[in-house]
Symmetry: C2
Subunit: 293 residues, 2 copies
């Protein structure tokens, strides 16, 4: 069993991005600038946004954090998006989800200029990804693909089971893994809450991407020997022994699955760190106008 | 075995659309107007476009056919698209594919105003479909979904195998059948040229959508009893006994598969007629500004 060390890969990619920023700086080019919009004080969102800002600093990007209280109106938020769209100094920006219930997230996302949509959530980027055109890939699926690539895990013709059909993980990773490319060319099955006999499907899989948000869902008796397991789950489970009061728990029962796996990601330290570097990479590409000249 | 009669369903839907056009006319509303752009003289394209124009007439739509010789430049075609985008009288339009090799089809499709993209090929419509937002569904997957609905074929929790991963059939029908809806909620597997052991996967399937373009690929020994089979294949196979010199041949070996199937579409007369009514329906929706107000 080989552990897929997302933390180490993420650190390596950050180093590569920092070097690229150094080159840009040496040539007198524009330093990439990411803006993050944070509404309210949700604990998870605070943590994620702080990590994104910190990652920008680490690689030498500029970053701006724009905060609103949770009673901000949709109109105000749309005005903020419009001003970020128009601001030539901002290369890319994200609006951290979830948003308060009185704000329609689809409306906000669609208002973002897709050329600055470094989260890859805008329909233009989702559609271009599905068709196989250059686009901003959304961060988690891009991070998964990068882990498969860096660990040279074969995917062509392999049976791949994706657990979960969310718009931000399940659907896009399924789309990426079935495309004519590497990583890709896999025979992909998407399972979800309505699927029957998920165990049997998983037992046939060479690669399992678990993105249900259901702690320890995937058990050792549901996988075959030699499987590659990517665990996207990050459920906060209460843990009085931790200072934070919780621990991040994956969708995979690591202790029973790992002994049968050829490759497996831990939680934390697997997909999580990759998500942020995907965002950094998109911001770099946005600054260089590579995807949308 | 019940034959899924696409021709009869299509005729019924055309009748419903014609009635709607009658109501619009009675209220003094605007009659839907579809434009089709045809480049060159490809036999298949000529036939498809003629059928689309004829279908418009049958339901009382207005239609315009714009023709170019195959040496038209990309710039000229883009100018045509721009003028159709700007023409308030045109509710929706299509550019018939394939285009000559010197024209980039992606560039043409992306130039179409997505609010007039009744073929559903624009990245905005592809992306919105994937996310589950209102959009123009592309014609063939929309036709398949409508057949499943009209024949009340259960899909929730069912194993569905999609043969083929094209942008216009395989990927979008997979996306639709996995979404939280009816028809949908299926456990979808997408197979393609790189997939191994397609027979075994097909034998586990409750529903098979065959869209490979490989005549008679799916044989009776590859399906289980009670399967529902939707045949999207329409390969022209030479046939000297026909006046046209060819016959349309599906991806399904009908004679061996039909005896085991609960439901099956014939070729021709299955999915084909539904494709055109999907286009009519999108044009009706475009005229009524239902999808994009």
């Amino acid at each position: 069993m080989q552990l897929i060390d997302g933390k180490a890969v993420a650190a390596q990619i950050k180093k590569e991005i920092a070097e690229e920023v150094g080159r840009i700086q040496a040539l007198g080019g524009k330093i990439p600038h990411l803006a993050a919009v944070l509404v309210g004080h949700d604990g998870g969102s605070e943590t994620y946004v702080a990590a994104k800002v910190k990652a920008c600093e680490e690689v030498g990007f500029r970053s701006s954090l724009i905060r609103y209280e949770s009673d901000v109106s949709e109109a105000e938020l749309l005005a903020c998006v419009a001003s970020l769209n128009a601001d030539a100094d901002i290369d890319g920006f994200i609006v951290q989800l979830p948003l308060p219930p009185h704000i329609n997230p689809d409306r906000i996302i669609e208002a973002i200029d897709y050329r600055k949509d470094v989260d890859g959530f805008h329909p233009v980027n989702v559609g271009r990804m599905s068709i196989g055109l250059p686009c901003f890939l959304s961060a988690t699926p891009a991070g998964i693909v990068e882990l498969l690539r860096r660990y040279r895990i074969p995917t062509a013709g392999k049976r791949c089971v994706v657990l979960g059909r969310s718009n931000i993980v399940g659907k896009p990773i399924a789309s990426l893994l079935m495309q004519k490319a590497y990583p890709g060319d896999a025979t992909v099955t998407v399972c979800h809450s309505r699927s029957e006999d998920i165990s049997a499907l998983c037992r046939e899989a060479d690669i399992i991407i678990a993105a249900l948000g259901s702690p320890h869902f995937l058990k050792g008796d549901m996988v075959k020997e030699g499987v590659t397991v990517i665990d996207v789950g990050t459920t906060r489970v209460p843990d009085p022994e931790r200072k934070s009061g919780f621990r991040l728990t994956g969708d995979v029962d690591f202790d029973s699955v790992a002994p049968k796996a050829a490759f497996i990601t831990p939680v934390p330290g697997g997909v999580g760190p990759m998500t942020i570097v995907s965002l950094l990479r998109n911001t770099l590409l946005a600054g260089q106008k590579v995807v949308y000249p």
